[in-house]
Subunit: 276 residues, 2 copies
């Protein structure tokens, strides 16, 4: 039976399966949408990824990830731009809804967040003509402030939307509840994103209490404190009716369980906690 | 030789020394300002804390901490209010500059951040007449968003300032670099706090990359990525010329070193990284 409204970010089962195995498992569970990571694509090869995904008529809610623009050197920044162009190619080949951008943090040795943020704006501006020419939307994903130093110096939805306004057509946002749930301005920022037509993706998981690791201790929906249904309501009210993409990095729990158990649990929890 | 401009939050040496021992050590190192935690005060007794601190003419840059207002029950919320009144008494007895408020997170079982934030506003409003009558400023400390669930649902400086405006005279903010350094609106928020005359304390430490624990892996100034001098410049430009209070929770590093080595390092790093 088809599961409507749900996509699986393949990082959720990255320890259990290759991209091919994960897609076939999703189809067995009635899930017809996925979001692969580039290392997963490269491991099986782009042709094989295209075969299993497009050959089965699957939706791709996003390719993870472009970004990582800041660098201490101009060579480093150019390499990032070149790599982002290849990421756009891969997203196009897979027919993805968007290329997700995790924009990058401080360059090595730097304490200058403002400069890093300028490098991000410059980097996106540099790839944007290519993205537009290929009709591939770029989704800036604001990351939780605990990743400001090492992963993304865009840390609130409003900050990402300011960037979108500055950059113009072809750039929007990925709203991941894990990163934005705490924001006192969340409701107004989501409404603003809706007015801009900027919501390109909606990622779900949960925030565990306690959280034992900054990166790899995300929770299954329902096991934490995020008001998933409430945030979904805001997103739908803002006009985004697209899929919810489940993305869980969980080194000590879900990455150790059988993949089929993980998918079955995601489906149960999606129905119990995430739909309006 | 006196160390000008520096205060030691006694949590920084909580594993090494009692409040009495820590104050005496600070004086040996030329540091005449401290900020004790209430458990440290209670362990030696308030009379003894007053004796060593006031008897030696020490400055108290803050008492940590009041707050923790949200609760699932009205009894729980009343207990928090009563306990905050006792915290005000202790801060007054010690001649503190302010009582620092870590406002509390979600009540057990709740996913409603908005309700928790209302409980915080109600709790501060309930103790504010007593604080005003005792001339004890209340310093709301916005905590990093990674503590929104379990420690403080006030997570940006602007959010704290909104609360100050709502509550009126007698409430300000403690600006801890660890909690606010990532904020894209930091400069404007500090300037706003200055215009409001709301800056009551400035706490320093550093953000380590990687950070291995959400609570107990704060860095020594200079070992991380925070632009300490830059933020100090903003704070001084906003009109706050008070002490910088070093507060480091470090279970695996600084709490395991001899207290005298910690204090000597704090003094060195303060001079090297924190003064404008």
């Amino acid at each position: 039976m088809a599961v409507e409204g749900l996509s699986i970010n393949l990082a959720t089962v990255r320890q259990q399966w290759t991209l091919t195995e994960a897609c076939e498992a999703c189809l067995r569970h009635g899930i017809t949408a996925v979001a692969p990571w580039r290392d997963q694509i490269h491991k099986v090869g782009l042709d094989e990824a295209v075969r299993v995904i497009r050959g089965n008529g699957m939706t791709v809610t996003g390719v993870c990830r472009g970004g990582m623009f800041p660098s201490a050197t101009s060579e480093g920044r150019q390499e990032a731009i070149d790599d982002n162009r290849r990421a756009i190619d891969e997203a196009v080949a897979l027919g993805a809804d968007c290329l997700v951008l995790v924009v990058g943090g401080l360059p090595q040795g730097s304490r200058d967040l403002g400069a890093a943020r300028d490098m991000v704006a410059d980097g996106i501006a540099a790839i944007l003509p290519y993205a537009r020419a290929n009709r591939m939307p770029l989704a800036i994903e604001p990351l939780h402030p605990m990743y400001a130093a090492d992963r993304a110096c865009v840390n609130t939805l409003d900050q990402a939307l300011d960037l979108c306004e500055r950059l113009g057509e072809g750039v929007g946002v990925a709203v991941d509840v894990y990163h934005v749930w705490w924001d006192p301005n969340l409701a107004s920022a989501i409404a603003r994103a809706g007015r801009m037509g900027a919501i390109l993706a909606h990622h779900i998981c949960d925030w565990l209490v306690p959280t034992r690791d900054l990166l790899l201790d995300r929770g299954m929906m329902g096991d934490g404190v995020i008001d998933l249904r409430g945030i979904r309501g805001m997103i739908e009210a803002a006009g985004f009716l697209g899929l919810q993409e489940c993305e869980i990095f969980s080194a000590e729990t879900w990455w150790k369980r059988p993949g089929d158990e993980v998918l079955a649990t995601v489906i149960d929890r999606f129905h119990a906690h995430c739909r309006t």
